[in-house]
Symmetry: C2
Subunit: 292 residues, 2 copies
């Protein structure tokens, strides 16, 4: 089932609405211009995970979009309402996907539309985590320095304008793959359409975890960030790009990490098998399990 | 007022709905992913203008998005219904904006959501046409050859993922300008966020009209195309880029052309005054008036 809770100044804890009925105006700029932002987070046993990190990224996206959205407290209360409703309806499910969405609202109204959506975790997502991912490199079209000189491109914001991300995944599926890693026009590894890239090396027991540098215009991964903090405590070395495709081919293991699918091993890149490591995956999954 | 007509297999001429009520599902991929397409066209005296060109571009956008949308006949009938309803409600308005929208529909439903929206032409749009436009060059981040090698970037498709286009216009307004002309990372002139770039030369009576080449990843302008056909009949020479910023500074006149605002002179670029020509604007406006 889907639970929808709209953020509404007249309802402190959010307004639960019937998800089987239309709830958005057809003139909402979210629908007509993809003009808005979102976050997807996991809830386990009725509690949202990494909530502060997601609310903080939501605020950063809102700033990039110059969009006034409800404050963190209003989001927290609406999330609680949504999860309570979801757990009551689906008591046997231990986890759920919580989406936070905010649009620029109806054209001319100057008032954001904001809502929380709670859904079961799709079975296909869990299956990919287990089976691993066949991935294609696809060019994102931007060079890795553009984010710093062209803020209007909204590179670090998680906007509702995801048509290209969706088209890239369709392209991968049409070519026998499961997912995509974007590269920049100057040959750097960027990110997945809905995930962050990780690679690891184990050299004589010194383990290193690497991810592309944020300055290349990628989204700040909340799961990557939490995992890096946990890995550092365990003695891992950490590294931040720039990464090129050959670094992924040379690594001891490569993963895509995101808030719902969590840590998923990449098993091939452009049809070429990659090294994988059950040991490293198990070790990092144990660290991921601490924050989810 | 706003008239909304949903395309619906159960209603041959479309289903008129109450535009003051929510009509979209909050889980529609148009709203949650900007995953869909649109067209904006002008109607004059109840008749849509350049309808075949818009329906043809809509079909091209659908192909790029691999999205199955209603056929041209269904769109034509829904547009007629919408315009009839609009004219009945607003008999004194001679023109209207007709938007055609189609999304990938509700997640998992595998059925596009498609509707027609009819509105008055905003007064601000007409004012810009008269006053002329102060324009900023802003980098679009892509090089001018990427569209040909990366179809997943959807460069020639008119998608609902317009957050960057909207952010660019906001950036211009925050910097004292009205609109934007995007440039490629390799320094070519591309297009406006919602318009096509035109420039003209008049050299000893031989008039030339130029626009950036389509291969640079810009949208095929329906108004530019119709104006070029009309100008050719009048003995104009036609040219298709590549154009660089200096070509605009050197031209006898520069315009942005689009379906609703029509031909609007550019009066300054990055704060530097441009040559304008009341004669050329009048002559081309007379040609535009033939197809609108």
């Amino acid at each position: 089932m889907t639970v929808l809770v709209f953020l509404d100044p007249a309802h402190d804890d959010g307004r639960i609405v019937d998800a089987s009925q239309p709830q958005l105006m057809a003139t909402d700029l979210g629908a007509t211009r993809g003009d808005g932002l979102f976050e997807s987070l996991l809830a386990v046993d009725g509690a949202p995970r990494k909530l502060e990190a997601h609310l903080s990224r939501l605020a950063a996206s809102a700033a990039a979009l110059e969009l006034t959205v409800p404050d963190a407290g209003a989001w927290r209360r609406a999330i609680s309402t949504g999860l309570r409703e979801f757990t009551a309806a689906e008591p046997d499910r231990s986890s759920a996907v919580v989406k936070l969405l905010a649009t620029r609202g109806v054209e001319g109204a100057d008032q954001a539309t904001a809502w929380v959506q709670v859904n079961p975790v799709p079975a296909a997502t869990l299956a990919q985590r287990e089976a691993g991912l066949r991935v294609l490199f696809l060019e994102r079209g931007y060079d890795s320095t553009v984010a710093q000189r062209a803020p209007w491109l909204l590179m670090g914001a998680k906007t509702l304008s995801y048509a290209v991300n969706m088209a890239a995944v369709r392209h991968a599926k049409a070519h026998g793959a499961d997912d995509v890693i974007f590269t920049s026009s100057d040959g750097k590894v960027l990110e997945g359409p809905t995930s962050t890239v990780l690679l690891a090396h184990d050299r004589d027991g010194q383990k290193t975890l690497m991810t592309p540098q944020l300055e290349s215009g990628i989204l700040a991964g909340t799961s990557q960030s939490a995992l890096f903090a946990a890995a550092k405590e365990q003695g891992w070395e950490l590294g931040y790009g720039p990464l090129e495709p050959h670094h992924l081919h040379e690594a001891d293991a490569v993963w895509l990490i995101s808030s719902i699918r969590l840590l998923a091993p990449v098993i091939s890149l452009d049809g070429q098998e990659l090294r994988t490591s059950a040991t490293l995956t198990a070790e990092l999954t144990e660290l991921v399990d601490r924050f989810v």
